[in-house]
Symmetry: none
Subunit: 235 residues, 2 copies
DNA sequence: GGGGGCGCAGTGGCCTAGCCTCCTAGACTC
DNA sequence: GAGTCTAGGAGGCTAGGCCACTGCGCCCCC
């Protein structure tokens, strides 16, 4: 009862689709029936009739469950469960109360701290050049009276690249959109761009000196600095 | 001669479904056309005809894209893009399994270490019960001569749940499929299931005692233990 | 009696055809 | 000019049908 409906455009304000309701019902059914990995769901025709929907709509629900990684639909056999009901519960929670801001910051922090540390260990001359270039870009933006959003983005991207860890980089990209919102807010605070740039420099120094621990600490401090306002604002 | 071919059907050896191909094509189309957030895709009837499929099948593909968080289908309006094309590319890469093993382990380690630490701080009685239940399940599997893959999975899931961090949990779901492969390999080593279970117990103790640092350390040690063989084998 | 092959029943895959609801832009009214 | 109405286009969902794949049991042959 805390969340007053997220205005954050990320969420669906619109009408519930039938297949979404079916997903919920199926998850409930799986949980109640104590089904486990390897068990197969009833046949589509049967299920559709029992749930009072057409096969086509049920098929959409099954596609959704498949994408969510809960079932694997096999031609000629049926829809077999991959995971335990607990997973279903987790996913349902995710869908229910959508990701809130602290969770986003938490994920960002986790990933970027690690990336900064790896960057300290693995950076190439090119990576260093890109980081320096990002710092200069942000400096120029600030000098021009701008908030430096672009340079900020460049910097974090350069650090991510310097870490040379493809999966982590992909995960960063995935949450990039969410992070962007918090970033723009933060840089709107008076004096914030300068502070942010200063902590960028600290991170860059630690990375260039190859000091993993220092880089991680610097990044952590930076993100905490950048996130506090957003946290206070919204939660 | 060690493994009689993993029956774990997670890797699709089977037939590609039409809607999956459509997802790929649509992602390509989005990228090529330089579409951004807010843009709407062509009408279903139009799209279906152009792609040479029925509306029902296209609808499945759209559901998949919706679950992946790429589009939002609005009644009466159309399918509007939520993210930038880069995200689409990322997701496609993730699906294509292009990432290499060390990177996967690295990402898993980063996320799970953080999750273990958070679980130490945030666990509820229910979370503890789920963790204990997972430990018992794995013990039973091992006693029965099994490798304990299932109990292992339950345990890591329970820890993820106990961390109560939705975005991090979401990221774990994304790499879950990749992680599964390394997990199964690891547990195939002689004596490994017992070692793994022991380190699970250590993690569980640290979480239950609320010791964040100890939980993080225990999880890190566990993942390093579990990953070394796979790393040596494959890279 | 045992082994192998074949066919059938059941399941999902996908399509066609159609009607409903919802949204929106533009015409119409005041 | 502002508000209202309406028609067309968009997605939502259904019904029914045919095809392809899987698995298992029967039957034939050895």
């Amino acid at each position: 009862m805390t969340q007053p409906i997220v205005p954050q455009g990320l969420k669906r304000v619109s009408k519930p689709r039938l297949y979404e309701q079916l997903v919920e019902q199926l998850l409930d059914h799986i949980e109640e029936s104590q089904l486990g990995p390897g068990d197969v769901l009833p046949a589509e025709r049967d299920l559709a009739e029992r749930l009072g929907v057409s096969r086509a709509t049920l098929a959409q629900a099954l596609v959704a469950l498949e994408v969510l990684g809960i079932i694997d639909v096999q031609h000629g056999t049926g829809a077999v469960l991959l995971y335990r009901p607990t997973v279903a519960a987790v996913i349902r929670d995710l869908r229910a109360h959508s990701s809130r801001l602290p969770d986003i910051v938490e994920a960002r922090s986790t990933l970027e701290v690690k990336l900064a540390g790896l960057a300290a260990l693995r950076h190439t001359p090119d990576d260093v050049a890109a980081i320096e270039s990002a710092l200069s870009a942000m400096q120029e933006e600030i000098d021009a009276g701008d908030r430096g959003v672009h340079g900020d983005e460049l910097f974090h991207l350069a650090v991510t690249t310097a870490a040379h860890s493809s999966v982590l980089a992909q995960l960063m990209t995935f949450i990039a959109e969410m992070v962007l919102e918090t970033r723009i807010e933060s840089l709107g605070q008076p004096g914030r761009p300068e502070q942010s740039l200063a902590s960028h420099r600290a991170i860059a120094r630690a990375i260039q000196s190859g000091d993993q621990l220092a880089a991680e600490r610097a990044m952590l401090a930076h993100i905490e600095l950048v996130s506090d306002v957003a946290l206070l604002r919204d939660v």
